[in-house]
């Protein structure tokens, strides 16, 4: 029961956050110079004052701000984020087409970064002066300071142009035939460079966090108790210490999710990965406001859902979080 109530509270809070994103979106759109009428007129190749007036009336732009906001939110509730005059498609359709590619990139980068980060963190914590430990320190400096798009271009030059191991751009090869498995393999082949580029920043962050939390846990009283029970070294590390040491990494991964999506925008642009980032880049150049705002809304949605999942993961790992609510 308590868990149900806690979950309900979280969901209500998530909905409120989403509403706030909508209000912000609409306010920005309202404050920005130019409106929908201007965009339409532009795409028609110019229009006179009368037609502009008619368009404004049709789109309800003559209504007071709160009414317009209400209409906007009402539309969003019915999955209507407006119409892209640049792509001649509803924004929702446009975004849903691109969302899977971005999710694939973000989720695989996060998972690989977390798993590799924990592995590196544990190895370097068990041997603080070893090779892995120096690697983590170096990686942490690199991951923080290297612009992710530059890392991507370096990978591209090295692994794609010089070595020819991976394709330079896109997500699939149109000439691929041979069923879903060949197709999946093809996508995976295309995904290697973008995923590892995006991964590089967060792998550094997570491995450093895991190392320091592991070092702290290894010095804790309950690890000493585990040793005093006569458990083997691997049982002490992987059963007793690890489960405690991953909590900070999971928390951090949840906090970083919105940053990962930001990084994905840059990585997608570098590798022409057909996701939301490329879409955002193109629609900003095209000044396609509804699409840009739609992308902002959807990425906020992804972050909020991600945070709910993070919460769930923490609950599974740490019983103290479970009974806190």
């Amino acid at each position: 029961m308590a868990i149900l109530r806690a979950t309900a509270t979280r969901v209500v809070y998530a909905v409120i956050l989403l509403l706030a994103v909508l209000v912000l979106n609409f306010t920005m759109m309202h404050m920005a110079p130019g409106d929908v009428a201007d965009t339409i007129a532009q795409s028609m190749g110019g229009a006179d004052a009368e037609i502009m007036e008619q368009i404004r009336k049709d789109y309800g732009l003559d209504q007071p701000f709160p009414v317009q906001l209400g209409t906007y939110i009402g539309k969003v509730v019915h999955f209507d984020l407006g119409y892209s005059f640049f792509y001649n498609q509803p924004v929702v359709k446009l975004i849903l087409e691109r969302l899977p590619a971005t999710l694939l990139l973000v989720i695989s980068a996060q998972l690989i970064a977390i798993i590799l980060g924990v592995v590196l963190g544990v190895i370097s914590a068990r041997n603080p002066n070893g090779l892995a430990s120096h690697f983590v320190t170096g990686l942490a400096l690199f991951g923080y300071a290297a612009p992710v798009f530059w890392t991507g271009i370096l990978f591209l030059i090295l692994f794609s142009l010089k070595l020819g191991w991976f394709p330079t751009s896109g997500m699939r090869d149109v000439t691929t035939t041979g069923g879903w498995f060949a197709e999946a393999l093809d996508i995976a082949h295309h995904a290697v460079l973008p995923v590892f580029t995006l991964c590089s920043i967060y792998l550094a962050l997570y491995s450093r966090t895991c190392r320091s939390s592991m070092l702290e846990v290894l010095g804790s009283d309950y690890v000493r108790t585990a040793k005093a029970k006569g458990l083997s070294a691997s049982q002490v590390v992987y059963k007793h210490a690890l489960k405690n040491a991953v909590s900070p990494v999971i928390t951090l991964a949840g906090l970083q999710l919105s940053a990962v999506i930001s990084g994905a925008v840059l990585v997608e642009t570098v590798f022409s990965w057909p996701g939301l980032g490329t879409l955002a880049f193109q629609s900003i150049i095209a000044r396609d406001t509804p699409t840009i705002l739609g992308i902002l809304f959807f990425s906020a949605l992804v972050v909020i859902v991600g945070n709910l999942l993070t919460d769930l993961a923490l609950r599974i790992v740490d019983p103290r979080v479970r009974s806190k609510q």
Binding site: S220, D221, Y222, R224, T225, A226, K227, A228, K229, G230, L231, S232, A233, H240, K243, N244, V317, D318, P319, R320, S323
Partner: protein
Amino acid sequence: MPALLKVENLRIELNTRDGISPVIDNLSLELYPGETLSFVGESGCGKSMTALAIMGLLPDKVGRVAGGRILFNGENLATASNERLNEIRGNDISMIFQEPMTSLNPVYSIGEQIAEVLRRHQALSNKAAWSKAIELLDAVRIPDPQSRVSDYPHQMSGGQRQRVMIAIALACEPKILIADEPTTALDVTVQAQIFDLMRDLGRQSGSAIILITHDMGAVAEMAEHMIVMYAGRKAESGPVQKVIESPRHPYTQGLINCVPHLLAELTEERPQLAEIDGIVPSLKDFGRDECLFASRCEFADTLCRSQRPPGFDFGDDQIAACWRAGEIH
């Protein structure tokens, strides 16, 4: 009857900023089956280090056994392999720590933490270990063990957690139970219960107990033999009754005077409560050839400050390492 545990001339060295210090210097002791031996002294005098050395749990790269032997049933634990120590730890020798609040793993249920040690050493099945865990919780007097067994440590009080620690320690009916200040972190009312529990269960399983404490009251109540430690050295040792009634070492006298009416009747007028001024010398001075207590001792003379006192025998096993022990009774 042969001694269960025999420590001979143990020396433990610790790496510190100022170099290597002997935190335990030339310590010998014998522990017989079923007996309770008490280690007494202020914090920082090396009591816990001795316990950790017996368990083979000295902190890596910081502390090490530099000399002497720790003989358990004739087997030297100081040179035993880690695999061998893992067989002994939790099974033949187990330990209870000072901090019940942090000594249990927060992410596993207490049932799992008790059952784990049974599976490890007694090759019990998961189910058998779990029902034995419930029995053990009942034995350490935790009410409603059937439902509490799946609780997590944060759902229990400090006293209850220490009971769980005792359950873990006694699960395999060890030959030796080491309790390192088991009640220091607990409320006074709970302290007595924990001591009662340890004494009763220790008797039932026939375990010998090494009780590390600075609580002279607990020593008088629990132990047959005691060792008073000061700055890594044995200051005085002997039967509890004898040492408390007629302490020979000024430090022992000081400790006893810290405790109000230890042996006095409650109705008697209470004497002025004394305290020992000053602090234990810093680690870097531990190796000096002098009486380390001299700087705090009103009886100290030039001999005390220039040569380490040997142990003087006062009969009935009572030994005091003080140059002037003979004069200042």
